[in-house]
Amino acid sequence: MTSGAPASETIAAPAALLPQELDLARLIVSVLSLEVAPEEIAPEAPLFNQGLGLDSIDALEIALAVSKTYDVKLRSDDERNHRIFASLRSLSAYIETHRAR
């Protein structure tokens, strides 16, 4: 599936998103109707406060969309929540580890 894409293109992108990160970025942008292109979200930038400037209700919407799309439920009693929601990359990594395959 990726055989056609030359490696140089991936490297040339300003912020190299992994395919699953790009999918998640698209989901977030669509769910929150953000005025930013999914490709432009820096994977390591904070999602909340600075960075994308999302708030806790946005976080809730993301959590709901994630559970619908990936069947991964984010729970309040997870002590890692702070790290999970830290950036696009950390949230994506969490989903990849826990999603049903």
């Binding site: 406060n49 400037g53 806790s56």
Partner: protein, 313 residues
């Protein structure tokens, strides 16, 4: 529309007035009242409310000016000194009563309940509910009724600073079980806890008349002038597709409360389409209901800051 909430930030410099001086004063007062009524009982505590209310009325010009401006709107005339005293006295009374109500010592209280059927129907249907209140009358009186008539969880969401203060009062009263049900707002976890509570068929209570700086607000007509009210509580209910009830614990006189539940909104269908408009409509309607209660019971409004000032909320 999307603004930043700062989790864990307690009363930053330039915070709205209500997160600072007056809240500190009322916490000290609450602690003192708890101490007092534990030792001497309700009556001496009640008599002391007269000098206490006078002291607060005399000692703090800024809250007094705000109270005067509010009363002028709610009463529809220039407030006189006895009007101001009644407001301060009612406020002090609810603080005294909190010390009793929070420990469940409500035997001598007359508490009239209206509209409980609306709440019970939701509970019977196993449907989690968002309950919106205001800094009006006593939230504890309301909680007492909810606790009695309610076999499900009740979680109250509060801004970090207020939650910490409330926790201090609960700690003083030794109510560990109750304090666990206070969720500090502003984090992803808080929102997930609200969702989980609603999923269990529980109740999530929020006060929808104050917003910290930089939270999402909408200016809506309130007692004759536009006031910035928070949209967050309504948005939360919409996102979680929960029905909404209003609840007020109105102070009617010494050891006398009227607790009211009113159906407010049905669950909103999922998706963003039409949501912003629905939320705006709800903020307006909430303000209109609040206005009606303020006109009916003008001495129950316990927001001692300028609620109409744009940067106050």
């Amino acid at each position: 529309m999307s603004a930043t909430l700062k989790p864990g930030e307690a009363a930053p410099p330039g915070a709205p007035e209500w997160t600072t001086a007056r809240e500190r004063g009322s916490l000290a007062l609450a602690r003192f009242m708890v101490w007092l009524v534990r030792r001497v009982g309700w009556w001496p505590g009640h008599l002391l409310l007269y000098p206490i209310a006078l002291y607060f009325l005399a000692a703090s010009p800024r809250p007094r000016a705000a109270a005067r401006a509010y009363l002028a709107r709610a009463l529809g005339r220039a407030p006189r000194l006895p009007d101001l005293f009644r407001l301060y006295f009612a406020f002090a009374s609810t603080i005294l009563d909190r010390a009793f109500l929070v420990t469940g010592e409500a035997a001598r209280y007359r508490i009239e309940v209206r509209g409980l059927e609306a709440l019970q129907a939701r509970i019977a249907a196993g449907q989690g509910c968002v309950i919106l209140g205001a800094h009006l009358g006593s939230f504890e009186a309301l909680r007492l009724v909810a606790d009695r008539g309610c076999p499900v969880d009740l979680a109250v969401m509060m801004h970090e600073a207020n939650a910490a203060r409330l926790k201090a009062v609960f700690d003083a009263l030794g109510g560990a079980a109750r304090q666990a049900a206070v969720i500090p707002l502003g984090t992803a976890e808080a929102m997930l806890r609200a969702r989980e509570c609603l999923e269990r068929g529980g109740l999530v209570g929020l006060l929808a008349d104050r917003a910290p700086r930089a939270e999402r607000v909408l200016e809506v007509p309130f007692l004759g002038a536009p006031a910035p009210l928070p949209t967050g509580p309504h948005l939360l209910a919409a996102v979680l597709e929960a029905p909404v009830l209003l609840a007020f614990g109105i102070w009617r006189g010494p050891r006398h409360y009227e607790v009211r539940f009113e159906p407010f909104a049905e669950p909103l269908p999922p998706g963003r389409e039409g949501r912003a408009a629905a939320v705006a409509e709800r903020v307006r309607r909430y303000a209109a209901r609040l206005e009606a209660v303020c006109r009916e019971h003008p001495y129950n409004w316990f927001n001692f800051y300028d609620v109409w000032r744009r940067d106050a909320a």
